[in-house]
């Protein structure tokens, strides 16, 4: 296998690939691995998107979590599930659907594991209604750098005993510990769906329509915008407003949405592009104040393509690899905007600033990392500021 770039691990490591791969099958084995070794360790789930964001600066051991594949407990009456980190989200969803329930997270990567979803803070269009990992993860068990196993949270939705470390592990890319088990709040599967699709001429109109929906009493599960490559962001795009609830509600709401938006085609399902991530060149994840959507789109280079969760202030854009990231970041900063590089061509990846500038909390972030991982052995270099 080519150093650091085999198809399954992706480009998780800069330079040389991992010296060794382990695939523990129990939490205790994960603990043994961390206790009995001393080098750098990078946890990966399915590795569907390990080429995203900054590569680890070192990886002596690749810790594959796919052996932690048990759904430990599903209490349908309590709408709670406990599952190990290597369980695939799609597998879990199938099992839950049998009980008319779901974990309300919809990142599109096929095969994504629960640990990977937590580690990358992955989400999809339905975040508008259900929130993200931080809103749904109610308990988590982690193996720390020194091999100790620690849980936080619990198995009940409401729980304020102690610090909520699940929030910290979310989006930490394994840099604070290896997630071995996760406990989630579930939602009922909505019985019916209806989508309204509206063509949108430009970014300004996209912003106007999204704001109309946001200020209305409609309760869509997602409001997604897609614009195609080769034109200014937002130009010639499509907006889809998705309703998922009981039949009576989705029918009435989609009719009301057509009236509100001044047109649009109704369908029983969203269009095929719904939820897909853009690809090619640099793929960016943008976050900003929701109402700034048209201004953020205007700051993107011509010839981009992408999708935006239009009422939440999140967008994914594929832009040319020559894009001046610093200038883009400066342009969206007034809207509390950030642009994180997810994917980049191999030859430009090394020289990129993946995360952008650090904020005044970076010193504190560093202290947190140093408390959890004093030897800097977990996913080193993957986090913001080279942590």
């Amino acid at each position: 296998m080519a150093a650091g770039k085999d198809a399954r691990t992706g480009a998780v490591v800069a330079g040389a690939g991992p010296a060794r791969t382990v695939r523990p099958t129990t939490a205790a084995e994960v603990a043994d691995v961390l206790r009995d070794t001393s080098g750098t360790v990078v946890p990966v789930g399915s590795g569907t998107k390990t080429g995203w964001a900054a590569p680890a600066t070192s990886c002596d051991l690749l810790l594959r979590t796919t052996g932690l594949d048990r759904v430990v407990e599903h209490a349908p009456g309590d709408l709670v599930v406990v599952a190990e980190a290597g369980v695939r989200l799609d597998t879990l969803q199938r099992q839950l659907a049998g009980h008319g329930q779901m974990l309300a997270l919809d990142p599109p990567e096929p095969g994504a594991t629960l640990g990977g979803v937590v580690g990358a803070n992955a989400s999809g269009p339905r975040r508008l209604r259900y929130g993200t990992v931080r809103d749904l993860l109610i308990g988590v068990t982690v193996v720390l750098a020194d091999g100790r196993t620690a849980k936080s949270g619990g198995k009940v939705v409401k729980n304020v005993a102690g610090y909520d470390l699940g929030k910290l592990y979310t989006g930490a890319h394994g840099g604070l510990g290896v997630v071995v088990s996760t406990t989630w709040r579930l939602h009922p599967l909505p019985p019916a769906a209806r989508a309204v699709v509206v063509p949108v001429p430009d970014a300004a109109e996209a912003g106007r329509l999204a704001a109309l929906v946001a200020r209305s009493t409609l309760t869509p599960t997602a409001v997604e915008l897609r614009w195609e490559a080769g034109r200014a962001a937002g130009t010639g795009s499509e907006l889809v407003v998705l309703f998922e609830s009981i039949e009576e509600s989705v029918r009435a709401q989609s009719r009301a949405a057509v009236a509100l938006l001044g047109g649009g085609a109704e369908a029983d399902a969203p269009p095929s592009w719904f939820g897909a991530r853009p690809s090619g060149g640099l793929v960016l994840r943008l976050a900003f104040e929701p109402f700034a959507l048209p201004r953020v789109l205007a700051a993107l280079p011509e010839a981009s393509s992408g999708t935006a969760s239009a009422c939440t202030g999140v967008a994914y854009a594929a832009v040319p690899h020559t894009t001046d990231l610093a200038a883009l970041r400066a342009a969206i900063a007034p809207y509390d905007g950030s642009a994180v590089v997810l994917e980049a061509p191999d030859d430009v990846r090394q020289g990129l600033d993946h995360w952008g500038p650090v904020a005044d909390s970076f010193g504190l972030m560093t202290r947190v990392k140093d408390q959890f991982d004093p030897g800097r052995r977990l996913s080193p270099g993957r986090l913001i500021g080279g942590l």
Binding site: A75, V156, T170, S249, E289
Partner: protein, 504 residues
Amino acid sequence: MANPGQTSQTVPATRDSPASPRSRALAERLRAVIGDGKVLTDPAQLRTYECDGLAAFRVRPGIVVLAAHRDDVVHTVRLCAEAGVPFVARGSGTGLSGGAVPVADGVLIVLSRLRAIVSVDPDNARVVVEPGVINLWVTREAAPYDQAYAPDPSSQQVCSIGGNVAENAGGAHCLKYGFTVNHVMGAEIVLPDGDVVHLGGTAPEHPGLDLLGAFVGSEGTLGVATQITVRTIRAPESVQTMLVGFHTVEDAAGTVSDIIAAGILPAAIEMMDALAIEAAEAAVRCGYPEGAVAVLVIELDGPQVEVDEQFRQVAQAAEARHAFETRIARDAAERALMWKGRKSAFAAVGRISPAYYVQDGVIPRTQLPEVLAEIGRLAEAADVRVANVFHAGDGNLHPLILFDDTVPGAAHDAEQLGFAILDLCVDAGGSITGEHGVGVEKKSKMSRQFTEDDLDTMQLVRCAFDPAGLANPGKLFPTPRLCGERPGVHTAADTHDPALGEVF
């Protein structure tokens, strides 16, 4: 906070010890830097701040700072850090776990004068406030734009947003809308060394670790929030509320399970038992169904058609469980009356008992019938009356333990029963607190829910934020631990924690 039953509890007298030289020197410096009028050291004035909503724990602080500006907080914390003096933040003092109880010879930083609404941005659905702003004010500010602030603790007319952030406060409607942590987007924090950092912001996410998520619910142990950005939600098209009376607790609890199992997510499902109903009737004449052994207050909100259809299903579910009376609020006034009985229930218990003690524990909702029955058995065995008022939808119990504070030992017995109920919660797979926090009251119970390793891992966060251990020490954790100390290795210095010997 009006909490009559509780404040009459027997309380150990606080020593009127003279201020220590350290405290006197710090007070002098504080006066020089932030101004005379904001620094209280007169024992008579300090007495007001001895406790929060949990009156059983009282400690006289060395100094009280009435912050009038964010910079007062920064200066105070920095001077505390320099002097090595612990400090405790205080919002409205309605906390029910002793979180805002001062540290003897420490500084209490009162934030209730920091009450500016900094900005209201309906386009982005954001409101920025100072920490002393009252919870209900946020909704008041947002209302002209048809928006609201979702977290609605029963104390919402008096508790502060800063206190809500520290406790991760909940409320009746968090079944559908989530807790404070799901609605706080950003905060300005004065760290325990006096540095100021900004966590989160107005955007939905930010690169890097979610330190804001760790701060919310940290009970004042990681720093002081001096500005908070929350998100507001669109007010729903339709709200419908019903009050349902049952002859048995099992039927009421079963109805809750059936509603959830039908795939319906109400905005709120609250339950009260016979004793709680009796108290509420005595206090506010809410006119609940006569002869009810349990009532449910169920609220649905959302698009009209959805609410109408699901409301019908809910009424059917209740009927199938032998509900003997179902009342539907016809207008806002009737809805308010239904809620009044529920929201005033804590204080109302003061009408039927000389004193009472509120517990807060969580169980998986499917175990409500068994756990309530077991609470009944424990209460009977202890010969103590317990009224239950709670957030049934998410299994968050609030047993109100009634006692006579003129009877020696009664307060202690009540507390013991409360702790036994918490054990039940943990054994059922639940939690020792769903919204009131651990504070000073329940810190010993943390070891019942978490292992040493779990607690040591939480301490890692504490050590990153507050290596000197000055922010609200002696709360939350059962065993104080010095940062840099290896877990499992205890030193004599452990016992020097300032809040230890002082509380009781």
